[in-house]
Amino acid sequence: MKHVLLTAAAAASFASAAPAQEVTLARFFGACEDAGTDTTTSVGEPCIIQSIINAASAEIDGVTVNTLPTDWGNYYDQVKAAFAGGTPPDVFVMHRHRIPEFAGLGALAEISGDLEAAGIDPADWSENALEAVSYEGGIYGVPMDFHANLWHVNMDLMAEAGLVENGEPILPSSPEELMEHAQMVKDATGQDYLAADFAQFPIGVRLVLALMWQQDSNIFSEDGTATINTEAGANAVTAITQLFDAGLANPQLNYADSQQAFLNGEAAVLVNGTWVVDFYAAEAAKEEVGLDNYYAADFPTLFDTGATWADSHMWALPSTIDGETRAAAMKVLAFINDHNIDWARTGHMAVRNSVVESDAYQSLPHRDEYAETAAIAKDTPPSERYGAIQDVLNRELQAIWLTGKPVEAALSDAELEVQDLLDR
């Protein structure tokens, strides 16, 4: 903290000749108090991103960055309220799935003409990354990562159950095998096979979505027809509920509790995103943590085609920004783009070809264990109502596993409500 203050004081005294351009920055990922300005040693999403932002504020001449509160729960509501009030942040992080909503209403600045001047080379972005920030022919942001669901594995529990071969976990290739493995883990260790947040945050939704995509099915089509109450939907749901019914997984754990169960060594597999790989690796190294031997595996294919839920973080500017603020905001984006390798340390997949091909990236811990994930990454068709649709699915799926609602009834209710949302 002292370091930050000194840097800030130094920056302030240098800048007194020409007042520094302040850039307000909105992000989620959570708070990190003492992030410092060293981008190469910070651990975990909150601290890595904040160290990059602090470094940008300290190192870019004439620009100071003011980070707004970083809570995730109401992030988009806050950003929208700021837009509606006419005071949007100068730079803000968002997901690719929100582009149709924000860019469709003219809220985002089209920045293809600003990239070169700011020193950002879009040709270095992978094809998918460019697609992620593109909307109707324009570029509406600087991509930062791809993130996806992984299977985080406790190798000791798997080994006890005889589910390790050549140092790799043996993962199921069908719903039936999933049951067998789960029973093996229960018999050998007494612990649950699988944990995830099925109760609050939509990790369970993302799991079911992946299993639907694996059957080449989706929750709605590009032309806006909801297709949830289908055989594929029922297959995907029952693949998971069979575990609950047999007492091999607990649907009542929320995000923090499911994570704690995994770290305590009470679950062999945790379904969660790439964003926690470095955190779990760091926890596994600690003496007092139950998890000792950690592996980050690709989401297994239980049906025909490989698929896992994925999304992308990107940085955008509001359409109202111009002049010096716009130039300063672009410098901040360029700085973040330059530190793509640091962000990849979280466990996220990098968006720049030069980074992906670098030794530094390929030698990141556990990186080779989920090398296939980029190829099977998938998401629902674009929609302005993404958030509300996720919420419907989350509610109806929770109704199935937390309140015993029949699968057929829940899926048909979900289909009705999603259709309502698509029709609005």
Binding site: N74, Y76, Q252, T403
Partner: protein
């Protein structure tokens, strides 16, 4: 007073002058937003779109109200026998009490209206091939009413008992009063954080106690049977303070002579509480109940932060639905229509409080 100076303001002028700051603030921050809210509720109004293009709204009259509260092929019948039966019993009871002259006119009307609403409202249901346009709205209203129905008696009874127990002039009681009031000064974020930790099945105090007693910990916040109870418990703990202070004030108004006289008639302890304290506190109790009803209809933070409305919408409450519709879905018109509905409910209770406040002691 000196003669000949005519620059003094008349009484009426000075009254207006002194009232002006309040009236201006009131008009600007309450009256104007209120009418604007009604105006917005008559439009198809997207929060973000209108921010960028003020013309991106359509006047649609009462369509938002229809979309939120009504449906296709809505019919009426005796489809909720429990609630409607209760309403019918209530109506009969009201008639009986009115006949035998045991109720004041106001109480007769209030009880009658509540019973009638119980008979009428649950009777609406979608008929053959019909559906509600918004399938979540009425269940959300029902959750909110359930929350109020559990919280208000909870707060009132526990605050009353605490106040009666602590109505003594000793130092220990002074400290206890302060302690019980302390929870009231916390913000909703702090309260929900404390209770989320308390309820956590892994590290929570309640889970630890359950385990010591040999039971399995309950997943309070994610179990359908306990989630509503959990946010009610947190709310009762949080809002005890004000009710307790009001009751203490009411208790101190009761003359000790009445208790002395009662003691001579051998009415002490629980009997004195029942025959002396409660009747003398009647007005305070009414005040506390009505204030709490109005307050708790606006519940938001507890549901939003502790359960996110789950599991399966069992703790979804009206203000949270308004918030989601307005901000997450950007449908400001629709959200405003729901807000107007909430206003009508709370307005009704304010009217009740106003009438009771003016009613003379019988």
């Amino acid at each position: 007073m000196r003669q000949g100076r005519k620059s003094y303001l008349s009484q009426q002028q000075s009254a207006w002058l002194l009232l002006a700051p309040f009236l201006v603030t009131y008009a600007l921050f309450l009256v104007y937003p209120f009418f604007r809210g009604i105006w917005i509720s008559l439009h198809d109004w997207n929060l973000l779109a209108v921010a960028f293009n003020p013309d991106a709204k359509d006047f649609i009259g009462l369509r938002n109200y229809e979309r939120v509260m009504w449906g296709r092929n809505i019919e009426w019948g005796f489809t909720a026998p429990l609630l409607q039966g209760l309403g019918l019993i209530g109506l009969a009871f009201t008639a009986f009490l009115h006949r035998t002259n045991r109720l004041s006119r106001f109480n007769t009307i209030a009880l009658g209206i509540v019973s009638l609403l119980l008979v009428v409202l649950p009777g609406f249901h979608p008929g053959e091939g019909g559906r509600w346009y918004d399938r979540r709205f009425w269940p959300t209203v029902a959750n909110t009413v359930l929350f109020v129905g559990l919280t208000v008696p909870g707060v009132t009874v526990s605050a009353l008992l605490l106040a009666a127990g602590m109505n003594r002039e000793t130092r220990a009681m002074g400290i206890l009063r302060t302690l019980f009031f302390l929870s009231q000064v916390l913000s909703v974020t702090v309260v929900t954080l404390i209770w989320q930790i308390m309820f956590s099945p892994r590290q929570g105090l309640i889970a630890n106690i359950t385990e010591v007693m040999g039971g399995t910990p309950i997943n309070w916040l994610t179990d359908q049977q306990f989630a509503m109870a959990a946010i009610v418990i947190a709310t009762v703990w949080w809002s005890l303070g004000i009710a307790m202070i009001l009751f203490l004030a009411g208790l101190q108004d009761i003359s000790s002579e009445i208790y002395e006289a009662a003691a001579l008639d051998n009415a002490r302890g629980a009997r004195a509480f029942w025959y002396i304290t409660l009747p003398n506190l009647r007005r305070t109790i009414t005040l506390v109940v009505v204030l709490q009803i109005i307050l708790h209809f606006q519940v938001f933070g507890q549901s939003h932060l502790m359960t996110q409305g789950g599991p399966n919408d069992t703790t979804q409450v009206l203000v949270r639905y308004i918030y989601q519709t307005g901000f997450r879905d950007s449908e400001l018109g629709r959200a405003s229509a729901m807000a107007v509905f909430l206003f009508v409910i709370m307005g009704a209770f304010s009217v009740i409080q106003f009438i009771i406040g003016r009613e003379k002691d019988e």
